[in-house]
Amino acid sequence: MTDSSQRYLVGIDVGGTFTDILCLDIENQSLLSAKTPSLPGKQWEGVLNALGELGIAPGDIRAFVHGTTIATNALLERKGAKTAMITTEGFRDTLEIGRTRRLIGGLFDIKFVRPKPLVDRPLRIEVPERTAADGEVLNEIADYDFGPLADRLKGEGVEAVAIGFVNAYANDKTERDAAAALGALMDGVPVCHSTDVVAEQGEFHRFSTCVLNAYLTPVVIKYLETLAGELEDKGVKAPVNIMGSNGGAMTLPQAAKFAAGTFLSGPVGGVGGAVRICEMADVQDCITFDMGGTSTDVALIYQRTPRISHDNQIDAYPLQVPQLDIHTIGAGGGSIAWVQEDGTLEVGPQSAGALPGPACYGRGGTEPTISDANLVLGRLPTERTLSGGLQLDKAASEAAFTSLAEKLGGGDIVPLADGVLRMAVAKMAGAVREVSVHRGFDPRDFALLGFGGAGPMHVFLVAEELAVPQVIVPRYPGHLSALGQLLADQRLDSVRAWGGKLSALDPADIKDPANEMKSEASKTLSDAGFGPDKQTHTFTVDMRYVGQSYTLAVPLDENASDWDAVRDAFAQRHTETFGHADANNDAEIVNIRLVSLGIVDKPTLAFNSGDGKDLIVVERKVWFGDDWTDCPIYNRDRMEAGFELVGPAIIEEAGGTSIVPPGWKITVLDAGSLDCRNPQVST
């Protein structure tokens, strides 16, 4: 039941540097925002501070969605739970051996050290159990006495247990039996088994995913319980949801069971926000360009749908859960330019972070960063403070670049700063190619959507580098992630290993497993408050030709009476993706997948408040690649819908600065976004 006084939808995005909060007032469609410093180790406190900063009555919040980096940080810092892995006899080392790949570089590196598995050998424990590839249980576990094992695990202070058995994808009876038996003896220590997290073939990837999930579960639960408790104390009555890596929101109980599904909780909000911007700006396909202080996140949105990837890797650990296909590179405003041993110039991945920050922040940083390059080139203001009250120190930036130039044998710092900027842009363009060209898309067919603190400053250069003709800069670009969060639908992904050769499969047989999957998902969504009219369920099947290994997803009508549609759709996708179809070969189904959404109402956002007066704040000289150019600085808050301008121009607003190179044509859309076209590139 929603209380009519509950008028606020709140999205909170915790970044490396800032915690960003955005609040939509449903009654008058207005937005409120605030930014407070993130507090490492105490993310929830930053969230409370941000909420306090906003100054709304906590009881008036209707929904609260949060993007957190808690899982990612716990893994990067190896601060997850002490985890045990229970597995089939003969396979305690699967986690360590993997498929013998290094997975993280190492060519020519004599001193390469393989990352340690998350579970040490003594806590990888074998039990007498075996299931065959066809699902037949060769060795039951139901009568096994787990008592001594449970005592040992508790005695060793184990905080989470992962169970992974060989061939559980074909039949997980023994896994479920073991999880039930052990779970009952572990005094509340979370126990998860592999098919509960991912039900696909491939023991290493499944075990790895299950262990990541177990390793992170206690951390995520503790964080969420603390946060929920603190929010309740503050009077927040709305449920606290967090963003899942699949781009949908999850309830706390869901997240507590599926911690491995929250790795991308941070960056997915921006992608969701981008979809909403596409809808409002009438754009079909875009590539998101979310640039912050330390990193840039890039994702491809095709037909207003973000791409999902199922085979992921965090560090050297495979993670086989559906995630938005977001590519992250270590290049942000704080990335440092430096000279390598062999005298070559490099940018990043080291970052000055928030402290000391770029030299121009005047907080003790002396290394030249991307932000310093921007300042040297006149692309950032020195005459006024930035939002947040920061006064930039141009002399410090110039000093940092002078010292860099000396290491390279002297020379003018302006072309050097320009070069550093272009090198960073080349890296970022590489990231865009990674999500487009590598996936079979031409980036020139997409609009680039620039947001995040540093996105609008660099997105035009990236577009020029890639010959992309269109750029979109949303209103409040620094808050788009939080916007995506507060408008996120709930999303459940289910997968079940089921199938065989089409020639030997009866279409009627798919109905039972499909209906089971659907009713489970439907119940979960109902429990979270989504009635039948607010749910959608979409099936696909993973398919390949017999003998192949890579699969393609194909839409499934679970009630169809034959396989014709599936077979044709597969042949078509195969042709599109790989350039040919094999009409002579039988195709097979490997998995059934179900995406279930709990739909959140999407309000229309009125983003243009300007009156069209006093648009130009000031003029200054800005370096655009080859020379200093007089460039007007605009105040975006004053712009009306339909306003047009031609670059060069700098457009400032709270939380974002768009730097428009000469020649670009900008139109302010009704929905507030800047629609930017480069007439020098043919569409």
């Binding site: 498929r99 013998t100 060519l107 020519f108 004599i110 001193k111 050290v113 020379g411 003998g547 290994s549």
Partner: protein, 673 residues
């Protein structure tokens, strides 16, 4: 300044092209060995056949041979290369690896002039020949290994030479899959061309090609400066191929590596002649090995292009087994290439002692289990299990993983994939504990994998090395356990071949278990100098037993697993005291019998070492790697050993030096079962 930045942009763009075409191969190929095993590599070559760029996942074994192949194509076709031409090649004698690795060269033109080649070398599952998969330990000549493609224009100005293609594919098993992979390579070449044309547009033809030259030049200057920092001199090493599969004698690789100023020459004079078994390789591979190892030792980070290798020259006797000619089979080229790697690493360890590294697991460890399919065809399960990597100063080796000289491939298939596709059950796949090369830093552990045969019949073939002569330790470190591939039948271990590691078509029956035990990496430094706590940790983590800690490291643990300091000190003293030391004297000439180095061992010493005539021993001089030889028992009780001049050089020792001698065992005591 701007030029420098332009150069970085060109470098990143070229590597991006390679990475992009790699992705294209993976996603569009048809054979599992390519899309799952990633047994392929891509690179860009200059118009005259110099390497311009490769990616970090690409395998040096493929790539460093491509320039040789490309130069052969350029030599064969000279000015007769046109837009729309395509070239195919796999001939080991003109720069190929083994026949399965097929290279497609896609020339890229700018302004009507040949500018670059895109190169894709993919392992084709079968290229004809005697056995399915084309690789066999029992071949006698290359014709049994499949169809040989010397530089061949398969497409002329856009027109495919269908007759040639038919002749090729009609001589391969499973031609549909081969054609699928060929098409994937064709499409990938077109993609590479598109990307490169975009770069020409962006940087200008001259801009891009000048940039390429500048990058090659920079890598060359970098490598030359690194070599200049090394002391001038001659450095020696030798190593053995255990068997070519049919003859009992080993084959020897002898190396004199000379550092002079800013260049390196590797002279392999004295290396065994080519053989009629599969353990040969063509002329590109010795250079390939030297380039790989020198790069790893001196300059691992600079972008990979031909410049790094310009300062390196190689002298390899023609018709030796490392520079073979018609009609020597080359199916086992990986075993040979990895042996050369290991010999060069021993020499480079003397040049740069701080980089010296325990030996590798051996070669590729090709395992094939094949049997009848229900539909009348044949299934072939192929895997090539990794071993432990070698230790180096301050760094223990890693367990069961690809080594620094290899691209990043999967090499064992997922248990669930194997069991769902083949009538096999994987009974275990685990760390081969205890089987490391001991040392102050120890080598990594290999793996133990057991596959049970479920059908009535199947055949086992193995092509591997270092089953008898184990990976060496360095700087006083012990050798890793040797590879071992055996069959377990009714609880008994049986040898599937009289030549360990070389098995051809061994008949398996229901319930038989194929057991793969892969080598541990060689150790670094004296095991008695290993931090006792690290040994205690290895015991706590169940990689070593308490007994192994005590007998091999002299570390005595209390009942709670902590180090007993006093007991450890006295145990270490006792172990050190029990080592055998001999005094060297110079012999007029080296004691060489066929390929083997013999070492005369006085009988009393032989008794102390517990060795018999013909057993393998090693001497530890100042050289980082040990000198190995086969014992020739002699009379006398003095602990004096005569060594010829070459042996002295290999040891880096002088007459009168007192040095340690050890028996070389295939595995530490108690590790074999």
């Amino acid at each position: 300044m701007n030029r420098l930045i332009q150069l970085e942009l060109i470098r990143e763009s070229l590597v991006a092209v390679v990475n992009e075409i790699r992705a294209n191969i993976i996603h569009s190929s048809y054979a599992a060995i390519i899309y799952e095993g990633h047994d392929f590599s891509c690179a860009l070559m200059s118009a005259d056949g110099r390497q311009v760029a490769q990616g970090l996942a690409d395998h040096p074994i493929h790539i460093f041979a491509v320039p040789y192949s490309t130069r052969e194509v350029v030599k064969a076709f000279k000015d007769d290369i046109h837009e729309g031409d395509l070239f195919l090649h796999n001939d080991p004698y003109t720069g190929g690896t083994h026949l399965n690795d097929v290279l497609l060269l896609h020339p890229v033109f700018h302004d009507g002039k040949l500018a670059l080649f895109a190169a894709m070398r993919c392992h084709w599952n079968d290229v004809g020949g005697m056995t399915p998969g084309s690789l066999s330990g029992r071949v006698k000549e290359i014709y049994q290994e499949g169809i040989r493609i010397t530089p061949t224009r398969i497409c002329e100005k856009g027109v495919m030479n269908q007759a040639v293609l038919d002749a090729l594919f009609n001589n391969m098993r499973g031609p549909e899959e081969r054609i699928g992979d060929f098409n994937a390579m064709l499409g990938t070449g077109r993609k590479a061309e598109e990307h490169l044309q975009r770069l020409f547009q962006r940087f200008g033809g001259d801009g891009l090609l000048d940039g390429v030259e500048a990058l090659i030049d920079r890598s060359e200057r970098q490598m030359r400066s690194r070599i200049s920092e090394c002391p001038d001199g001659d450095y020696y090493a030798e190593g053995y191929i255990e068997s070519d599969g049919s003859n009992p004698e080993p084959l020897v690789v002898r190396l004199k590596l000379t550092v002079e100023g800013d260049s390196i020459n590797a002279d392999f004079t004295g290396t065994s002649a080519q053989t009629n078994g599969p353990t040969n390789c063509g002329p590109a591979m010795a250079f390939n090995a030297v380039g790989t190892i020198v790069k790893a030792f001196l300059d691992p980070k600079t972008p990979i292009n031909n410049g790094s290798f310009n300062p390196i020259s190689v002298t390899a006797p023609e018709k030796s087994f490392i520079n073979a000619r018609e009609t020597a089979p080359c199916g086992g080229m990986a075993e040979v290439k990895f042996l050369i790697d290991s010999v060069v690493a021993a020499a480079m360890g003397q040049v740069v002692p701080e980089m010296s590294v325990g030996d590798l697991k051996g070669g590729a460890n090709h395992i094939h289990i094949a049997g009848p399919r229900d539909d009348g065809g044949t299934y072939i399960h192929y895997e090539w299990p990794a071993g432990g990597t070698g230790a180096s100063a301050g760094v223990d080796g890693s367990n069961a993983v690809r080594s620094y000289n290899e691209g990043d491939f999967n090499s064992i298939q997922s248990v669930e994939m194997v069991e769902s596709q083949y009538p096999l059950r994987v009974e275990r796949c685990e760390i081969r504990t205890g089987a490391c090369g001991d040392g102050a830093n120890r080598g990594g552990f290999g793996l133990r994998r057991e596959l049970r045969v479920l059908d009535e019949t199947a055949m086992l073939s193995v092509l591997s090395e270092k089953n008898v002569i184990p990976p060496y330790g360095v700087a006083g470190g012990s050798n890793g356990a040797a590879n071992r591939f055996v069959v377990e039948r009714d609880g008994e271990v049986i040898q599937p071949s009289d030549v360990p590691g070389k098995v051809s078509g061994f008949a398996l029956g229901t319930g038989d278990i194929v057991r793969e035990e892969t080598a541990g990496g060689g150790g670094y430094g004296d095991p008695l100098m290993r931090d006792p706590q690290m040994v205690a940790d290895d015991v706590a983590l169940e990689y070593l037993t308490a007994d192994q800690a005590e007998t091999r490291y002299g570390v005595v643990l209390g009942s709670d697993g902590s180090v007993d300091v006093a007991a450890t000190a006295s145990k270490r003293d006792a172990l050190a005291g029990a080592r055998e030391t001999v005094t060297l004297e110079i012999a007029n000439e080296d004691d060489i019998e066929g390929p083997r180095r013999r070492i005369a061992i006085p009988s009393k010493l032989a008794g102390n070492l517990n060795i018999s005539e013909g057993d393998l021993v090693e001497l530890r001089g100042k050289a980082v790697a040990p000198l190995r030889g086969w014992a020739r028992l002699s009379d006398g009780s003095d602990a004096v050993i005569s060594i010829g001049p070459a042996g002295m050089r290999l040891l880096n020792a002088d007459p009168g030096d007192a040095i340690e001698i050890r028996a070389v065992q295939a595995a530490p005591a108690g590790v074999l079962s």
